[in-house]
Amino acid sequence: MSLNDAAAPGIPSRGTSNLADGEWHRLHPATPLLKGGVALIAITGIVIANLRERLVELFFGVPSYGGDPIDEIYNRGAVGWALLVILGVLLIVMVGFYLSWRMHSFRVTEEAVEVRSGILFRTNRKARLDRIQGVNIDRPLLPRIFGAAKLEVGVAGQDANVQLAYLGSSHTDALRRDILRLASGMRQSAAAPTGGAATAATGTAAAATAELAPGTVSADGTAAGQEPHTSGAHGLAASAGALITQRANEFLAPELDPDAAPPESVVHIPPLRLIASIAASGFTLVLIALVVAVPIALANQQYWIIFGFVPALIGGASYYINRFTKGLRYTIAGTADGVRVGFGLLSTSNETIPPGRIHAIAVTQPLLWRPFGWWTIRINTAGHSQQNGQNASNTTVLPVGRIDDVERVLALLLPESGLLPAGTGFTALAPGAVPVEPPAPTAEAPTELSNVLSAERSAELPAELPSADDAAIPSLIERGLVSKGGADGFTNSPRRAAWLRPFSWRRTGFALTENTVLLRHGVVARELALVPFARMQSVGATQGPIQRRLRLGSVHLHTVAGPVSARLTTIDHTVAAELFETLGAGAVASGANDTSHRWGSRQDAQ
């Protein structure tokens, strides 16, 4: 059985990938096998283990000493029945596989991605394209070997994602590009040149495949040819060779396809740094404590501690391995359709986050990383796959990096923030990500409040922002990350906040740009949180009795759920009130001007 792209219609592409033409398509025919891959291997293993002696006897003529299930069946003269049962089960499984593949189809229209599946219980899921939060391509090891990939369209909501598992690897990239293009709201004509060039690149790669396996699905969704027919035996050997080289190329290819992204990832993580950063995590401290505690406990005849230690060790090992494999081959680059983050060595994952889908960003530095100057970046997004606990990995955008890496990544994540002048971090950002619309009302809305804050802002920001060009003066980001406090462009907590934050009060503060809030706090574990005004859901201000005595207040920026919590707990209460109003007005103004749900349409307008 050929594992090739049977989902591909016979009609050659005309500038777009042929899977996104609004018709119903089927998935990769090997999908049931790949989905149940592990179970299949397990069942085979059990069968082989049970028949081991039988097989040994069969091949080497060693007589068996009886007692296995097959002898039993043979002795009872039930061979015919047994064969019938096996045949029946096989038939049912095959029919089930075939039907589940047959009934599982998807289509991509101008409006939505739609999937229908199920044999007895039909489900039909439709995700509106302008609500897409991200497109993720997963290539687990086994499907990857067979040249298949899983495409996941992330939509806001718990377990609301639309999964297309599995598709032919080369089609997956093309399909993602088309989904993103359709979602961006760019008109077909505008996209045609790039789309055409892009498909040409993958088209050549897919040529060998298309020749080998033209198992076609006609436009109305019925299968025209189930059996992939080859063009004669003589061509088979050559095609097989081409197929293998193509598989190898796909396997080794960089995760960022060169036609859709700048060739280089803006951050490169040396494996050594990755290992060291994982080793210097807080979990290691726990492990060391355990390693010290265990011999002491054993010396005191406290043997029960073993029962706690062994599971911890196993958990620790899997944690380290998980962190390591997820951080390997890490890439991040800006494309016309958003930031693309890829990682993974054997099983790879590659997520595209369109502009305006990042709700909050946190740059943090655990204490142990400080000597090395390393930081990690995590984000809140509305759509995440919750399965297999992989959620955690998707929220980490930069596993470990230095400050300049952080600035480059932030420039990709917040292209319109005005925090970093274009050209500092990344070179050629695709045209879609160029800041087009500075949200003017944001700047003007708070002016009617005429408060201390906006006075401070106007005094500080214009003077200090351009200075980011100057290498001598650290950028606002860098000040937010490493500054010890003081007059550094951030509005910090007053001295009396030391009652509540004895160490970090100097550093606990905020800064505002035209459309982004920066909150910084923490002196042991430093953190800088950035929230775009346009993504803020609401703003809260609270004050408890102790804060009231100290004339302090808290401000909390409510965003979608995630690892980032944007709140400041110890700022002057009048400043907190001003900040509350400013943020509220800013959120309204930016939210009204926000067009990022159709990010491509802005280019059309020009």
Binding site: S538, A541, Q543, R548, T559, F580
Partner: protein, 202 residues
């Protein structure tokens, strides 16, 4: 409770008209600060237009009191059972302690209920509650994902309802209790209309 009766009268007017809100006497901002008005007011967070707060129905106080009393009685019954049936002397002190806490809670209850308020501003909904732990939330109308109206048995008996404004952020937590049913429905329709006219993305 003369204040409450007066308030109930003003409740009958249409809440959505800001003019009425201005006409209504601005009690909201002065009441929570009653113990030490001058010193405390300066340290207190005071957001929004003090005159524009819509308060919840004073009848909501009954709902709160009934809830507190039921809770208090349950706890007291537990302690009393230990004291009488279990013949444990210390349980008497626990009983007294619990009773004191709940009685104090009951005395603060009117102020807590009066501290709940909301304002419909030009572009956002401003919500507040709490005296000791003050909480203000500002939600742009366009961020609305859905509006829930729920009614507990006691509130239903009093003709009250609870309105919940849900955004994509779980932390928003804007729940306006103690609205008269027709007012809750009017407010819901108003909020939906406002959200529709100011639709924003996620």
């Amino acid at each position: 409770m003369t204040h409450d009766a007066q308030d109930a009268g003003s409740r009958d007017t249409e809440h959505t008209e800001t003019n009425n809100a201005e006409v209504r006497e601005p009690r909201m901002h002065e009441l929570p600060t009653s113990p030490a008005p001058e010193a405390d007011a300066a340290q207190r967070l005071d957001l929004g237009d003090p005159a524009a707060w819509h308060r919840v129905s004073p009848k909501y106080l009954v709902v709160e009191i009934i809830g507190t009393v039921i809770g208090g009685l349950l706890f007291c019954a537990g302690a009393a059972a230990v004291w009488i049936l279990g013949d444990q002397q210390w349980a008497l002190w626990v009983l007294i302690g619990i009773a004191t806490v709940f009685i104090v809670t009951l005395t603060v209850e009117p102020r807590r209920v009066r501290s709940i308020g909301y304002q419909l501003r030009a572009d956002d909904l401003l919500f507040r509650r709490g005296i000791m732990f003050q909480r203000f939330v500002s939600v742009p109308y366009g961020r609305m994902q859905l509006v829930d109206i729920t009614r507990s048995p006691v509130a239903r008996a009093l003709g009250l309802a609870e309105l919940k404004f849900v955004t994509a952020a779980a932390a928003t937590g804007v729940i306006i209790p103690g609205l008269p049913m027709d007012e809750a429905e009017a407010l819901r329709d108003r909020l939906v209309a406002l959200a529709e006219s100011r639709r924003a993305g996620l």
